[in-house]
Symmetry: C2
Subunit: 463 residues, 2 copies
């Protein structure tokens, strides 16, 4: 039933049928003002009159008026009655965004790994155990470096699995590698660095992050032995992926490792080691972190984005002593920190051995995929050379003459397959290719065969 | 058993007793180099000789040498043998930090609420349900605004519980309110704002965040009706706590609400509404968000820090259309985002009604504490006036003549009770007091009685 207050000259069209009188009247009036049905300046009926008209207690109307006056929707003055104030503005709804292009069904771009392999059950079990065991204070505002439990677990793991020289007080957790990189760039910029040297092939998003912190990004050539270290003059910092260059895939050659470590040890600048997939090495023992060659000059950075899932937004940096306090201060100034609940769950997963199991499991699965990719391409697209496959979750496929990156990406899309060309990961002026960067870790297991078949169809020579 | 390689002139002191030969030799050599026991330039024995000496296969030693060459610890050249390279630097352990002062056992400072009341079981149940139901892609790199599930849940909740004018596309999640504030300050600074006006009483950490983004912070007087709105000239933005001024505790008076909303609606600047404890109102219906008075000029910001726990580092901003894209870009440039797992769990907790239950439960518990605080002080320290108690988790206790803040804080500490004086939350030149800001939400339930008793002992007039 719709009750109106028409006999006082204003039809309020207040629908009170389904709600309790007070809450209903309050919401109805607020909506009417917000929608503009009751314009600014409109005088409302006296509470006694409206109450009689609506069949509610006068006190109910008076309370509603008082509440809406308290909230600023209405104004009231003794002798002047109650009116709609002028500041309520209807929300402007954004135009409906254009529908996103339908995502391609199969995805071989080199971003995440296989998120369907995220160990939901072990993670939940670790979370349950950690949360029940955690003292209450673990849920309070966190230690600015990260929870002690996780920093201790990471220090042990990184020393053992990656040869990092580390104590827990040197570990600072961050909301993914990108957050850590932003913090480092901010600190280095404040210390007077102007240039971040970065491998000329890499993630453009990271270069953008550095620029947003005020650094200029200088691309450094990469040859078959990795980053060319005699081009670092003037850089305050170097960002590099020594274990498995992203995206080209080579391991930084031993002499180059020594050269960049010497560059850092000489105090010329800070080296940032992005060990994004260091756990995933297939051909021999893992190549240890370069950080251990000069731990007071090299920052080691890692993340669970490849080993667990990028959605966790959880990473860490291992810092030289001279940077630690400043990076912690920069983290505070960013306002962002990792959820203590996630940190406790990861600490439990690491100390219980579940993290190692997950890494071994994933390494085996990704290695099998790499072998299948190599064997399938060798058989069905032998004109395509595959590079950078000793490690990681991606490889570079060099395209045969006559097939451009753009054409390959387009042909793949027609088959429902998402691919990235190498040029999407190159600094301007560093053409190399044409080639594709194939993220073979990404499809769910059940979709990998089809993704491979579509890749071969894309690359097959025209008949 | 310790095996040595003494007969070649170098005593390596390699302890191989407990480990498999290859891994053990590799680790032992790495440690010896890292610790400086094998100095740079030291020539290692030929692999054949060391193998014979250690009683292992020559190939094992050759593999170890190759691995350490790959990692940069060793250099090797045909004809020149193998030597320790010069770049390995021992880590400088930080001096052991001075032991932190033992935390006081009882804590009435106004930071978090009672973290012991965090609903571990309901949270875990919501997490389990949400994670099992989530599609795999929810674990991939997240939507830059936050997961759609949480943004939709928040839009519904905030409209219903706080009267916010909101659609899901206007919600952006952040790693706590501080992250959101840092992003907003960055965007406003980039748009030319120079000054953030802030209530002269508040969290200094927020003022520091704004300064770190390049804004000057201008304190604005607060009187018994809240922020004085005629002092906003020249400010590009205003940060305020209209529902329950922090820390003074008054609600922004209706005329003031209209005035600041009009200031924002006129386009003079952006208003940032920090609704940090809006759910916790005891005296009457909640005062709705001021944001609804001018949703295209007011940013609404909230967090789970009071309703659940600060350790989650999870907050949100509801943005005017003209700010949304820039804030999302700033979030990307910060490199930080909330864990998708936490976002999914919170979305489930909200949509299942568990969040409302938790808020109701907490509101009741905090209201009881407030009543006990007021009754106990009235009885045992009647000379102390209590202000700002209509809402929230804290109150201001005005000290009687003759008791300074510093003396009260010191006397409390002697009794194992942590307290904060009002001056810790005041801008320079805005003396008001002496008073204490009492966070009665903080102690665990079982410790509240003792905390109250010690507070009374602290405030009792000297006999």
């Amino acid at each position: 039933m719709e009750k109106t207050w028409a006999n006082h000259g204003v039809d309020l069209h207040l629908d009170l049928s389904r709600t309790r009188a007070r809450a209903g009247l309050e919401a109805a009036l607020r909506d009417a003002i917000r929608d503009g049905r009751l314009a600014a300046g409109t005088r409302l009926p006296p509470s006694r009159a409206l109450a009689a008209d609506l069949g509610v207690a006068r006190n109910t109307v008076a309370e509603v008026y008082a509440q809406l006056v308290a909230e600023g929707w209405l104004g009231a003055r003794t002798g002047s009655g109650t009116w709609v104030t002028g500041h309520a503005a209807p929300v402007t709804h954004s135009p409906a965004p254009a529908p996103a292009p339908r995502p391609l069904r199969y995805d071989l771009r080199p971003a995440a790994g296989d998120v369907s392999a995220f160990p939901r059950r072990p993670w939940l079990a670790a979370a349950r155990k950690a949360w029940h065991a955690a003292p209450d204070r673990a849920l309070d505002y966190p230690d600015p470096r990260g929870t002690p439990q996780l920093r201790a677990a990471l220090a042990g793991y990184l020393a053992r699995a990656r040869g990092v020289t580390v104590t827990p007080d040197r570990v600072v957790t961050c909301c993914g590698f990108s957050h850590g990189l932003a913090l480092l760039c901010r600190v280095l910029r404040e210390r007077g660095a102007a240039v971040l040297a970065a491998e000329a092939y890499g993630h453009r998003a990271y270069w953008e992050l550095a620029r947003a912190q005020g650094l200029r990004v200088a691309p450094v050539p990469v040859d078959d032995a990795g980053l060319v270290p005699d081009r670092l003059d003037g850089a305050g910092a170097v960002l590099l992926t020594p274990a498995h260059q992203f995206p080209l895939g080579m391991t930084l050659a031993p002499a180059r490792r020594r050269a960049v470590a010497a560059w850092a040890a000489d105090g010329a600048g800070v080296l940032i080691e992005d060990d994004y997939d260091g756990e995933f090495r297939y051909d021999r023992q893992p190549v240890g972190a370069i950080q251990a060659l000069a731990p007071e000059r090299i920052v080691y950075a890692g993340t669970v984005s490849k080993s667990l899932a990028p959605g966790l937004r959880l990473g860490w940096v291992v810092l030289p002593g001279h940077l630690a306090d400043d990076v912690v201060a920069a983290k505070a100034a960013s306002g962002a920190a990792v959820s203590a609940l996630d940190e406790l769950a990861l600490a439990e997963l690491i100390t219980s051995g579940g993290y190692d199991r997950q890494v071994r499991h994933a390494r085996l699965a990704y290695r099998r995929r790499r072998d299948r990719l190599a064997a399938t391409l060798a058989r069905q697209a032998p004109q395509v050379a595959l590079r950078g496959i000793a490690a990681g979750l991606h490889a570079v496929a060099e395209l045969p003459p006559g097939l451009s990156e753009a054409a390959a990406v387009r042909r793949a899309a027609e088959r429902g397959l998402a691919l990235d060309g190498l040029s999407a990961y190159s600094a301007p002026g560093f053409a190399r290719g044409p080639a594709l960067v194939i993220g073979y870790g990404r499809p769910a297991e059940h979709g990998f065969t089809t993704a491979l078949a579509r890749l071969c169809a894309t690359l097959a020579p025209p008949r």
